[in-house]
């Protein structure tokens, strides 16, 4: 891998402006970078800006100030269409609510490739392979409402990984799961990310996840503090 980190934030500031209210700065990160292949836990209480940060890293949000570079590419310098394409190619995103559409598991998983213009004869086997990787080979044709919460999360993981992204973002992946299923899914995410050599950033306030990560970043008052798990008293 080159010297370019997977992620680099510079002078990042993001402010929300609600109607009639004073602007509220939710993120202020002078500098931060994450190397390729790292697995990092992003901690913080609800409303601390974890999801906002993930959205900025994925290019779904454009920062009010500063820059977000993913794989050396400053996202703000891309057009919106190019940013959409970049996200589909390089960034996988597992949403807290899974965000599956009312199609079959296979179709859900294939979607990022389909939006990249990959023809069905290529994206279908890859989607099937991706589902097999998360243990859902037999569930390809099931729709989200026919799957358990754990299975839905696995589909979301398979979808996030189908384009073999360099960066996988997961927002509270275990929030809706019982501890045992949560642990299984986290095992899966980390295993697959290791296999893909993907950088993993998991945003969670679940203390049980801390022991899984050597790198922990804490969002507090909009600022990011890096610490090992031991230093923040998580282990």
């Amino acid at each position: 891998m080159s010297d370019i980190p997977c992620l680099r934030l510079s002078n990042l500031m993001h402010t929300y402006t609600a109607n009639g209210l004073a602007p509220r700065t939710v993120l202020n990160v002078p500098t931060w970078q994450v190397a390729h292949g790292e697995h990092l836990l992003l901690r913080g209480i609800s409303g601390s800006g974890k999801t906002t940060l993930l959205n900025l890293l994925s290019g779904l949000l454009t920062p009010t100030q500063g820059s977000v570079e993913v794989l050396g590419q400053a996202l703000s310098k891309l057009t919106e269409a190019d940013r959409d394409r970049f996200r589909a190619q390089h960034v996988g995103y597992v949403f807290q609510t899974h965000n599956l559409l009312p199609f079959s598991a296979l179709e859900n998983v294939a979607m990022p490739l389909a939006f990249l213009g990959v023809p069905p004869r290529h994206y279908r086997p890859r989607a099937a392979e991706s589902l097999a990787q998360v243990g859902l080979a037999e569930w390809q044709h099931h729709k989200p409402h026919q799957l358990s919460a754990g299975q839905r999360l696995r589909v979301a993981v398979a979808r996030a990984l189908i384009a073999k992204p360099a960066l996988l973002l997961a927002d509270e992946p275990t929030a809706a799961l019982d501890p045992e299923t949560g642990a299984q899914v986290m095992d899966l995410i980390q295993r697959v990310c290791h296999a893909h050599k993907a950088t993993l950033i998991v945003a969670s306030h679940d203390p049980a996840l801390s022991e899984r990560f050597a790198q922990v970043a804490e969002l507090r008052g909009g600022t990011l503090q890096m610490a090992s798990a031991e230093k923040v008293g998580l282990l």
Binding site: L60, R87, F95, L101, M111, A114, F115, R159
Partner: protein, 420 residues
């Protein structure tokens, strides 16, 4: 290209996912399209049917003064009432002046169960659709009438009345079945022949001699009726007629115009060209059709608004799904296209329903009208007129999809992504 094909599939899946709503929207479009298609198909069937029904009936219809159109409609299509009575002197005069002219006299005024009694002579059975075709009305059973109160039944009349050769029947006065007191009880007719089907209104006719009609009305004695058989089987008649048909054989077109001019100068008779009168009738029908087309057009606009409302509410309800697609890499143009294609699918489905329904309704109405009038109404696909009726709703439907598509295009992804 692959993205567009995928957008087509996603749009189709979205339409399928809302089965009831999609079906209802498509049905509304379908009904509007069906209305337009049925109007066009029926008008075409009626026009062809009337032309087909009329084309055996010579070049000129002579009758009493009055509405030329009513004269043609009554004589050729057996619609409406006779406009009055024509003195047979007019007919005799024509026959005397033009010995080569083939003229079939017609006297109507009675019926059996609504099937018209048509007094005529054998010249009527020389009518043909073209010089090279056999006569349009030929006996399938029995023979033509030879004596008074012998009757030859049209195919439809024979079937509906259930009469066979040798059966006897009574007629009633008037052109439709009426009171029992109107029955001519003294003059029973005997069936001597049944015609083959000619696919013309006269399939409903019951053909008898002119003298039978007059005698049934006790005119035979009053008019001192004398029948003088002629070598060519054309009979000189005295009495009153409702019309006379000039056959287009043995006479030049110029002579026909001259005859028409000559008849029209008479104070009591008129000569009408069926083609011109039917042309005027079609023109009136076209005006009616134009009004119906406006109604159909309004229905299409309402259907398009239904698509707009349906898609708009669906897009509003599906903003999160659109945001999810955007988060997975779908461009703004892709979600715009998907929503627009949903409008296309809904309209295309409606157009297909409308096309089938329109033809179904037109076929059913044609069958009912044909049974009633014996005018052969056969529907067909009229591509030249129907194609715009299929394309215009598609364009309107897609246009109706633009606003919801713009809504999808302008969507704030992050805001809607977490708007559970």
């Amino acid at each position: 290209m692959n993205t567009f094909r995928y957008a087509l599939r996603v749009a189709a899946s979205n339409v399928r996912a809302r089965t009831a709503q999609s079906a209802l929207t498509a049905l509304i479009v379908g009904l509007a399209v069906a209305l337009s298609v049925a109007i066009v198909v029926l008008a075409d069937a009626a026009q062809r049917g009337i032309i087909r029904a009329a084309d055996a009936f010579g070049v000129l219809v002579i009758g009493p003064k009055g509405s030329a159109q009513q004269l043609v409609l009554n004589t050729i299509l057996l619609q409406d009432s006779p406009i009055g009575l024509l003195d047979s002197a007019v007919y005799d005069d024509l026959v005397a002046r033009q010995p080569n002219l083939r003229i079939a006299p017609i006297a109507m005024g009675d019926n059996i169960n609504g099937y018209p009694i048509i007094g005529t002579n054998h010249t009527f059975f020389e009518l043909r659709r073209s010089i090279n075709e056999p006569p349009a009305f030929q006996t399938a059973q029995g023979r033509l009438f030879e004596a008074n109160f012998e009757a030859v039944l049209g195919a439809e009349a024979a079937q509906a009345l259930g009469l066979q050769i040798g059966d006897q029947f009574l007629t009633s006065h008037g052109i439709s079945s009426g009171l029992a007191s109107d029955v001519h009880t003294d003059h029973p007719y005997t069936v001597v022949g049944i015609l083959g089907r000619a696919n013309a209104p006269h399939d409903r006719g019951v053909f008898v001699t002119l003298e039978s009609v007059w005698e049934a009305h006790e005119l035979g004695a009053q008019s001192a009726f004398v029948a003088r058989p002629r070598a060519d089987n054309q009979t000189a008649v005295r009495g009153r007629l409702t019309a006379a048909l000039v056959l287009p054989f043995g006479v030049a077109l110029n002579d026909v115009y001259r005859i028409a001019q000559q008849v029209n100068t008479s104070p009591e008779a008129q000569a009408a060209f069926p083609g011109a009168q039917l042309g005027a009738l079609f023109s009136q029908l076209n005006q009616g059709q134009a009004i119906l087309n406006v109604v159909a057009g309004l229905a299409l606009i309402m259907a398009s608004l239904t698509i707009l409302l349906s898609l708009y509410s669906t897009t509003l309800a599906r903003q999160q799904a659109i945001a999810i697609m955007r988060s997975l890499g779908a461009r703004r143009t892709t979600v715009f296209t998907i929503t627009l294609l949903e409008a296309f699918w809904l309209t295309a489905l409606g157009v297909l329903i409308g096309f089938a329904l329109g033809h179904g309704v037109a076929a059913a109405v044609s069958a009912a009208l044909a049974a009633q009038s014996a005018i052969p109404l056969q529907t067909r696909i009229v591509w030249a007129q129907e194609l715009p009726l299929l394309i215009i709703p598609l364009v309107l439907g897609i246009a109706a999809g633009i606003l919801p598509s713009a809504l999808a295009y302008r969507l704030n992804v992050v805001e809607k992504l977490y708007n559970t």
